[in-house]
């Protein structure tokens, strides 16, 4: 029987694991995305103590740090969490894990556009990660959908490959951090199209064009070789919900200042939670806090 089972092996889960290990609690981290979504971020310049680091390196460093302590790691997707008399039982493939407490650090997945053609052309012109698939678009024309800081960073990364990068945004003005906003403005390859939605994606073997909901330069049809969707994230909170943990209307796990959920013995941290600011550093800090709360909970039971 474990003291703490941490679901999710992203940076929030690793932050929790580090402290849990230091508290000498019997700890397991289980997840099917080792490193978490941060590994898809090429350039992190706001994690205190690291002037510039890739998401991949940051997660590797954290994992290496965790390994200084006695923490078990298991690979696989947790498909069920059940409450039992003396704790919880997690199922992941062939693994059955018994634990006294649970920390949900399950993160998020990409929000989809939900327009015709998106699914059909997924991986054939519709992509969700510039760092992964950008290299296929050398000297091509691509579009990033979204107006966040993350969307701006995707566009900037794509300028290394593509000859032209459009940012398609439904709002009046994209809203990256000022530093990235300036970079977008300075880039000769990037052009922003505001107040516009893609309503259909078309092509043959691969994407050839999209249809806008309003005309751009006189036409609603717009030729493009690749689309990178970056319109936010959906919390992966299904397991927590099934267990009886309270979520908000966005589907995020509701936590208090100390990362408690409404359920005794169940804690949560990182992007899956109802915290407004979702950064690597805040996620790690929540992981640490969740481990500390779990430590106190375990002393009391």
């Amino acid at each position: 029987m474990y003291d703490i089972a941490i679901i999710g092996s992203g940076v929030s889960g690793l932050g929790a694991a580090l402290y849990s290990g230091r508290f000498e609690l019997k700890t397991v981290v289980i997840g099917d995305k080792p490193g978490g979504t941060i590994i898809l971020t090429n350039d992190i310049a706001n994690y205190p103590g690291f002037n510039n680091i890739t998401g991949f390196e940051l997660s590797e460093k954290l994992k290496k740090h965790v390994k200084d302590y006695n923490v078990d790691f298991k690979d696989g997707k947790v498909t069920k969490v059940e409450k039992q008399k003396n704790g919880f039982v997690l199922t992941a493939g062939k693994e059955v894990i018994k634990t006294k407490s649970v920390i949900f650090a399950t993160g998020t997945e990409w929000r989809k556009l939900n327009v015709p053609g998106e699914k059909e052309f997924s991986g054939r012109g519709v992509h969700y990660c510039a760092l992964c698939d950008g290299a296929f678009y050398k000297e091509k024309v691509v579009a990033v959908v979204g107006g966040s800081d993350s969307a701006a960073k995707e566009a900037l990364l794509l300028t290394e490959y593509a000859k032209k990068v459009y940012i398609i945004y439904r709002g009046d003005k994209i809203r990256p951090e000022p530093i990235n906003e300036q970079r977008v403005e300075d880039s000769k390859k990037i052009e922003v199209i505001n107040n516009t939605n893609i309503i259909e994606i078309k092509g043959d073997k691969t994407v050839k064009s999209v249809t806008f909901d309003k005309a751009y330069k006189g036409s609603k049809e717009f030729n493009v070789d690749g689309i990178f969707v970056d319109i936010g994230h959906i919390p992966l909170s299904g397991l927590a919900k099934d267990l009886g943990v309270k979520l908000n209307d966005k589907g995020e796990i509701i936590i208090d200042r100390e990362c408690n959920t409404i359920m005794k013995g169940v804690f949560a941290a990182g992007d899956v939670c109802n915290t407004r600011f979702k950064q690597a550093i805040t996620g790690v800090a929540e992981g640490v806090t969740a481990a500390y709360s779990a430590y106190h909970y375990l002393k009391e039971i």
């Binding site: 099917d32 995305k33 080792p34 991949f56 690979d75 991986g123 054939r124 990660c129 992964c132 698939d133």
Partner: protein, 77 residues
């Protein structure tokens, strides 16, 4: 032993994770860099019907993305 092929690009983080995972679990694999190797890229697109990476082929099973559960199941782990 199962024959494992990984179609990847050098920058794709899940490709690196996948290759590291096979190495950690002592499973031999053949890597193809589809950003450079056009023949491999065509092969990948033909077999997986798409060009998102990584594509992992274990014997005849095509797995798109680093899907640990599917990989473990296919390898009987």
């Amino acid at each position: 032993m199962a024959k494992v092929k990984v179609y990847s690009t050098p920058t794709c983080p899940w490709c690196i994770k996948a290759k590291d995972w096979f190495t950690e679990n002592k499973i031999k694999f053949e890597n193809f860099d589809v950003s450079e190797d056009e023949k491999a890229r065509n092969e990948m697109v033909e077999k997986s019907g798409q060009m998102g990476v990584p594509v992992i082929i274990i014997d005849d099973t095509v797995i798109v993305g680093f899907d640990i559960d599917q990989i473990k199941e296919k390898l009987g782990m």
